[in-house]
């Protein structure tokens, strides 16, 4: 399993040539795709997320690591699909309004993919109707919403209310994040969770997905 560790290390180093190469080598050695995913790509991305959280590394390192992770995922995906390995579940994410840049939301998306989720990113300026429609039609377990501007926060409540109105409340879970929101705000609007940062958001989504599925 030495090579799987190497995959994680190369991912942390952001080497998007070496990661897919080592991934192919590991498969050739007969290591299961799921083991490469969990102990290589996901383990590496978790380490990156933790280093970013404690300011040991910065955004450029995370973006490079994410690219390396995707390169490894591309190798594994057909195998995981043909083997019928289920993802951890589907998550719909989006910003209720795009501010300076949507880095926060994008990072959460990257880390969720790294954690094995199937992520649908609706982008910026996403309305409540679009969030709910995407989650329903794509059978998502969780909706993750980000807001950077205080004026657009009410969209988060609209999503929660719309889910309840359509009888999806409790079946599709909601999590919110972004500079102006808080645990208190999540409780106030009836969202299922709040993520203070990327790492916490991923942990909470794992819990929500487990309770939703």
């Amino acid at each position: 399993m030495e090579i799987v560790k190497q995959i994680a290390q190369s991912l942390e180093a952001g080497d998007d040539a070496l990661v897919p190469q080592l991934t192919r080598e590991a498969l050739a050695q007969g290591i299961a795709a799921t083991a490469i995913l969990d102990d290589g790509l996901i383990a590496g991305m978790n380490a990156v997320g933790e280093k970013f959280r404690v300011h040991d590394i910065f955004l450029p390192d995370v973006l490079l690591a994410a690219r390396a992770m995707y390169a490894g995922m591309d190798v594994l995906k057909p195998l995981l699909l043909s083997a019928g390995i289920p993802s951890r579940g589907r998550v719909v994410i989006g910003s209720v309004h795009g501010d300076l840049h949507d880095i926060g939301k994008n990072l959460v998306g990257i880390m969720l993919k790294g954690a094995g989720f199937d992520v649908i990113d609706l982008g910026n300026d996403v309305t409540a109707a679009r969030f709910v429609e995407a989650a329903r039609s794509r059978e998502a377990l969780v909706i993750g919403m980000s807001a950077l501007l205080t004026t657009t926060m009410p969209v988060m409540k609209e999503v929660v209310d719309l889910l309840h109105k359509e009888g999806l409340g409790g079946r599709i879970k909601t999590i919110i994040g972004g500079a102006p929101v808080s645990q208190d705000y999540a409780a106030e609007i009836g969202a299922d969770a709040y993520g203070y940062d990327c790492a916490q958001a991923v942990e909470r989504v794992k819990q929500l997905a487990a309770s939703a599925s």
């Binding site: 300011h55 910065f58 955004l59 309004h97 795009g98 840049h101 205080t150």
Partner: protein
């Protein structure tokens, strides 16, 4: 008054800059989700009014509503075709309000794109976007350009170089946003204060510093770090703290009195241009003016 902002700052005079625009716009007809800069075309009188409030409060540098008016950023709203008119309109509105009684600063914020190799945007494209904005604001008569809220020193450098490519003489301020880490202050892109100073001075900025961030007390510490890293005039524009949710409304916790006390600390730390960022109001500007002994 319009000449010599760099010389006066370099001579150690403390110059007072204004506070936030965005929060004042929200109470004056800016629709949620709309580009704040679109008001430069649709409601310039609102920007004139806000500039007048800051002038009256004592600001000597009053900023135009052009933070997000680079074509790359405006493209997010489909407004890139109107970049020139939006930038010119923003500068003109402030000029109408302040005349020659204050310097008109053209704000230039991040493009919202990430440069290669980390993102998808190449340097040429970002430079030409900033250059288009700089051409418009300098052509419209801005007295100073304020490149601000930057995280990537390469993006900030391109904005400074774009201003320089349009005018060799326009004063250029360049400020970045830092977070405290166990290893000192860094931007989210991993840029240290020393590196920001080195690269932005080399690109042609006349004044360096920091804006936005986590409140004015931390900004005092950042100012001290900058003073160690550069001899250029130092620009410090803090947020009124970290926004908090109170009774369902977001509020910035730092009072005008608190920020005024911190402004005195910033001056002691070596800041030469002192103003406010997110959450600050004309009341903050007024209190800073009093505390800095700038009442005429």
């Amino acid at each position: 008054m319009r000449d010599g902002i760099t010389a006066r700052a370099a001579a150690g005079e403390v110059l007072l800059a204004d506070g936030a625009i965005g929060s004042l716009l929200l109470g004056r007809g800016l629709a949620p989700g709309a580009a704040p800069e679109s008001l430069n075309l649709s409601a310039p009188h609102v920007l004139e009014e806000i500039a007048g409030l800051y002038l009256e409060a004592g600001a000597e540098i009053v900023q135009a509503n052009t933070f997000g008016a680079s074509p790359l950023k405006l493209a997010h709203y489909g407004l890139e075709g109107k970049a020139q008119a939006i930038n010119e309109g923003g500068v003109a509105a402030v000029r109408r309000a302040v005349g020659e009684r204050a310097w008109v600063a053209a704000s230039c914020g991040p493009s919202g794109r990430i440069l290669k190799p980390f993102g998808d945007t190449d340097e040429e494209r970002m430079f030409s976007s900033f250059r288009e904005q700089m051409r418009a604001v300098i052509g419209a008569g801005a007295d100073v350009v304020c490149v601000e809220t930057m995280s990537d020193v390469n993006e900030a450098r391109l904005a400074v170089q774009a201003a320089r490519s349009v005018s060799a003489t326009i004063p250029v301020m360049a400020t970045m946003t830092f977070e405290a880490t166990p290893r000192g202050f860094f931007t989210i892109m991993g840029v240290s204060i020393a590196r920001a100073c080195r690269e932005l001075a080399a690109a042609g900025a006349d004044m360096l510093g920091s804006n936005c961030g986590n409140g004015s007390a931390q900004m005092v510490v950042i100012a001290r770090e900058f003073r160690k890293a550069t001899s250029l005039p130092l620009v410090i524009q803090a947020n009124a703290g970290v926004p908090e949710l109170r009774q369902g409304r977001v509020q910035y916790p730092e009072s005008p009195e608190f920020m005024a006390a911190m402004a005195v600390e910033m001056r002691a730390a070596g800041a030469t241009v002192i103003g406010g960022c997110c959450g600050t109001t004309p009341e903050h500007t007024r209190a800073m003016r009093r505390a800095l002994g700038k009442e005429s």
